[in-house]
Symmetry: C2
Subunit: 303 residues, 2 copies
């Protein structure tokens, strides 16, 4: 049985924060979900959507303590948030987050002199969508997805509570050290995203008639890259700052590999291309087989 | 009103050929659809699916002439197919194709000494899916998608008939010269595909524990690249051979652009990254607004 939290505070009520809010309520993991977001339009939207018991733009406006705090803001804000939480929190409180870079998260946390009331277990739920904003959130976002935890303090009880919380909204838990997390995610997430941005950028810098045609005929493959490029720019900017080393390493490997394809095309080495393409097709098959492929509908949804 | 064809031959009964077969029948554009495929397993599958009136592995097995022939095979096979058709065809016959490279298509056609019975209008329906094989085809594949025609002979009647055929299965026609087509498609299709292959290739060459984790956590973005990489390897190998110049040009532009991102990450130029990411987000919005985005379902389809 999942422990029910009386009061949960979500900091950052965007796509992920609002989805967690919905899920915690729907799966009865939390009795009351509170939201903090520095943007008052976001708080208003959440109130319209009726997904918070109380929403504020300033932490000091809350006159209660929380059982659990979940940070769902871009990673560049963590340092400031940890300082604020350290001032605000006056009883033992579980804290977790959803950020895509974990070494920076731990390093930012260690900068504050925690008064031991903050029991922090870093999390990274591998789930998302190319949209941003609370209006796009939904409770099923986390179902059948992995959540990576990178605990750095010895506190089995805190780890268990945070694990249970994610499990109860549909996730499978994996424990990993932060450095490894950052390298794996550089390859599965940060590099694909950067390359998607770069391809879209290249297209936009073509002569204007070409640019318009690239958009018009994007169903030919380009649109898959723009889907990724639809995500939140600030969130991603921060990821490249905070996971610089792993990103640059993987980017170097990718550039080397791309050169081998370029050379094969120039030299007409069809065998090389065919072999590589066959290998990639197999990887796709593996991802489908383990149920992590999602599904793409090539038709347009009717509004 | 669309002219109804009595007999249509589809050469190559894979995903696209079988989808056309289904669409021509369903929208009553063709009375009888015949299929040719050198792979007898494919023909058997089509017979099981009941989407052909007659399927053969050899053109000479047909004892009739056709009103329309649609070539749906990888572009490396065109030269041979044109020679065979030129021998076989004994009355004026409309011919079109679905290939992704149009300069090579026209050049291959011009190599044969056509006896004037072949009225050839090259086509490229911009529609597809990452699957291959007749079992994955479906009649709605072409709905609301563009079809680019690159006519090179002055024959308005043939052009009109081929246009009407595509329109009647849901497509919007665009006329373009072959060279421009090949440059636009290099950017919207051939480059994204190649980069997807290359990213997937880089991941497979990581140390084996990293490789497994990349697959496991692919929902973080990597899976979007593998979706493209699930397509037919032979078809793509041929594209890079036949559209070499435009692909190498666009690849050069992309590599230059990627270097600027790399440099920005190394130097911590957050403003550059944020601006670029915002621009890309706008492009995504444009593609959604013109109804060419398709829709992605991040949840798994229950079987």
């Amino acid at each position: 049985m999942t422990k029910k939290f009386n009061s949960v505070l979500i900091i950052g009520m965007g796509l992920i924060g609002s989805s967690i809010s919905r899920a915690l309520t729907e799966y009865q993991v939390a009795k009351n979900v509170y939201g903090l977001d520095e943007n008052d339009k976001v708080i208003k939207k959440c109130q319209e959507l009726n997904i918070l018991i109380q929403g504020e733009t300033d932490l000091s406006n809350f006159d209660l303590q929380f059982d659990l705090v979940i940070i769902c803001t871009p990673v560049s804000t963590y340092e400031k948030i940890f300082i604020e939480l350290n001032k605000f929190i006056s009883k033992p409180t579980l804290v977790t987050d959803v950020g895509s870079t974990k070494m920076s998260t731990i390093s930012d946390f260690n900068k504050i002199n925690s008064d031991q009331n903050i029991l922090f277990v870093p999390s990274h739920p591998i789930a998302g969508l190319e949209k941003s904003g609370p209006e796009f959130g939904f409770s099923k976002l986390f179902e059948n997805r992995y959540c990576i935890l990178t605990p750095f303090q010895k506190d089995d009880k805190a780890l268990e509570s945070i694990s249970d919380m994610w499990k109860s909204i549909g996730m499978t838990i994996e424990i990993m050290d932060a450095e490894r997390h950052d390298r794996v995610l550089a390859m599965t997430s940060h590099i694909p995203q950067l390359i998607a941005y770069s391809v879209v950028g290249t297209a936009t810098e073509l002569e204007s008639h070409m640019r318009d045609e690239v958009i018009k005929y994007s169903a030919a493959g380009f649109r898959d890259f723009t889907r990724l490029a639809g995500s939140d720019p600030i969130m991603w900017r921060d990821v490249y700052q905070k996971n610089k080393n792993a990103v640059l390493e993987m980017l170097g490997r990718f550039s080397e590999d791309l050169s081998t394809y370029q050379k094969a095309i120039r030299n007409g080495d069809l065998e090389f291309l065919e072999n590589k393409f066959n290998q990639s097709k197999k990887i796709r098959k593996e991802i489908e087989d383990i149920g992590q492929a999602g599904s793409f509908d090539p038709t347009e949804k009717k509004n």
